[in-house]
């Protein structure tokens, strides 16, 4: 039968980012999908050779603007571990607060884009409107809406005043209320379910084998969340990984939706449990040795491998991001989808190409 070959990307309006998929379709059913990357590759890992380990924080923050806070957190955790620095408790809590704010804004952003992928414009607008609350919080407390740049080796740069803390609490509570107001649309609207349920499903085994990470993995029923590693303040804060079992786009949506709400609880716990004290410790010397650290990014497990050689330049920084892990599942579940479902399916892994390619 005659086929249609479609270039999906690099400039495709549904993906804000340049990812290319060569889709071969029959009657709009995808028969074959081959990705092409490299449109966002900058090669920033190489910058470690000419930027010292402190400057690298700003660089890794700019791996991706959506999850920038967690990149620098993961990086700093690694350096701190390498250098044997123990950071103050308060700094850990502060990192938790900002990282969860980041998760919230990332998830809200994604939920909006996801809604946009199945053509639900007003839902998209609604999510992004809620998200602006978080962005304001970021701007007011950290100094920038997106790239908050709060982490330094040894702690954080910014403190939160009690007023700011209570403001954060009211704002996220309000955001939580607004999110709940559209819960029924996102989770049980007929058209939304019709478009997402059963689309691009991965079984638990498949997801695990293909190395999926984060919500993509959890939506398939694997309860794995790097926050269980108890970094930052997660040793003190209780939380349960959000798990869904269907492994389809709908389940992924639900996982992220519930995680966004869960983040509110974590922020609440972190602010109420936040001890007084310093926000950073001075750091002397240079990192040496090898380390692997992992944190839970909004999109899943992010791993940093770093190697220091006792100079202020790291020998190697290697970043393995969650989307990098989620691309193979994406390739695997593409064939058989309808063309209309391609945007939905691609977005369902919450692709972040700038993370993937660095």
């Amino acid at each position: 039968m005659a086929r249609t070959i479609i270039p999906f990307g690099p400039q495709h309006p549904v993906l804000p980012e340049p990812l290319h998929l060569k889709l071969v379709c029959e009657d709009e059913i995808v028969k074959e999908a081959i990705p092409a990357l490299g449109y966002v590759h900058r090669g920033l890992e190489k910058l470690a050779e000419i930027r010292d380990f402190n400057q690298m924080i700003q660089v890794v923050e700019r791996v991706c603007g959506i999850c920038s806070m967690l990149h620098s957190q993961c990086y700093c955790q690694g350096i701190e571990e390498m250098m044997g620095v123990e950071i103050p408790e308060r700094a850990k809590y502060l990192r938790t607060v900002w990282s969860e704010l980041h998760r919230m804004h990332s998830h809200l952003l994604w939920l909006g884009l996801f809604a946009d992928a199945f053509g639900f414009e007003s839902l998209f607008m609604q999510f992004w409107r809620i998200r602006e609350r978080i962005m304001d919080l970021n701007e007011a407390t950290a100094g920038s809406r997106v790239i908050v740049s709060v982490n330094v080796v040894g702690g954080v740069r910014q403190d939160l005043t009690p007023e700011q803390c209570s403001w954060i609490l009211t704002e996220v509570a309000q955001a939580g209320k607004e999110i709940k107001a559209i819960q029924s649309t996102m989770l049980s609207d007929y058209t939304v379910c019709k478009r997402t349920k059963g689309v691009a499903a991965l079984t638990k085994e498949q997801a695990y084998e293909l190395g999926a990470a984060g919500p993509t993995l959890r939506a398939s029923g694997v309860a794995q969340d790097m926050r269980q590693l108890k970094y930052a303040a997660f040793d003190k804060i209780d939380f349960e990984p959000v798990v869904e079992y269907d492994g389809d786009c709908y389940a992924r949506g639900v996982v992220r939706f519930r995680e966004a709400l869960q983040s509110i609880d974590i922020i609440r716990a972190a602010i109420s449990g936040m001890p007084q004290g310093d926000i950073s410790v001075p750091v002397k010397g240079n990192p040496e040795g090898e380390i692997i650290t992992r944190v839970e990014q909004p999109r899943g497990e992010c791993m940093y491998y770093m190697k220091g050689n006792g100079t202020k330049f790291l020998e190697r920084v290697r970043i393995r991001t969650p989307t990098f892990a989620n691309v193979p599942p994406l390739i695997a579940f593409m064939p058989g989808l309808e063309l209309a479902d391609v945007p939905v399916a691609v977005l369902s892994i919450d692709p972040c190409i700038s993370c993937t390619e660095r």
């Binding site: 690099p10 400039q11 495709h12 309006p13 549904v14 804000p16 980012e17 340049p18 490299g38 449109y39 966002v40 590759h41 900058r42 090669g43 920033l44 190489k46 910058l47 000419i50 700003q58 660089v59 700019r62 791996v63 991706c64 603007g65 959506i66 920038s68 952003l109 909006g112 998209f124 607008m125 992004w128 409107r129 998200r131 602006e132 962005m135 920038s144 809406r145 997106v146 790239i147 972040c352 700038s354």
Partner: protein, 144 residues
């Protein structure tokens, strides 16, 4: 009369297209945020068309590398005149923090002419709105 209306309309209906040229997403999401209720650039007649053939203004974020440079060039060429280009964020302006990476050629102006530069990392939505408004001034100056 009709001609005047057309000339005037130009500045009232800038259809934008956003191309991410290897940005870290920081600027991207700010561009998107401009379209959302809080900033709503549709007030200025802006529509995000996502297709160079329909666009009047190209918003580019991010650094240029050899691969996306071709795409950028292509998209620019496919936009019918009169058209404007707005470079957004440190990356789009000069390559920003990534200027020295092996796969970075520098700012957008290495590939296509840029009309407005919007600095920032990321550029705030307000800054982007300023940029769009500045670009409109360019269209206004353009009669016939």
């Amino acid at each position: 009369m009709l001609k005047k209306f057309i000339d005037n309309s130009r500045a009232k209906s800038p259809w934008i297209m956003h191309f991410d040229c290897g940005s870290c997403n920081g600027c991207d999401i700010e561009v998107l945020a401009c379209l959302t209720p809080m900033y709503d650039v549709e007030r200025f007649g802006v529509v995000n068309v996502g297709n160079p053939k329909h666009a009047d203004v190209l918003l580019v974020t991010g650094t240029v590398n050899p691969r996306n440079a071709k795409v950028l060039r292509n998209i620019y060429d496919q936009m019918p005149d009169p058209k404007g280009v707005i470079a957004i964020g440190a990356c789009g302006l000069s390559g920003g923090i990534f200027r020295e990476c092996y796969n970075v050629l520098g700012g957008i102006d290495k590939v296509i002419p840029v009309d407005i530069y919007v600095p920032g990392c990321p550029a705030k939505p307000e800054a982007i709105i300023d940029g769009v408004v500045a670009a409109l001034a360019k269209f206004e100056g353009l009669k016939g």
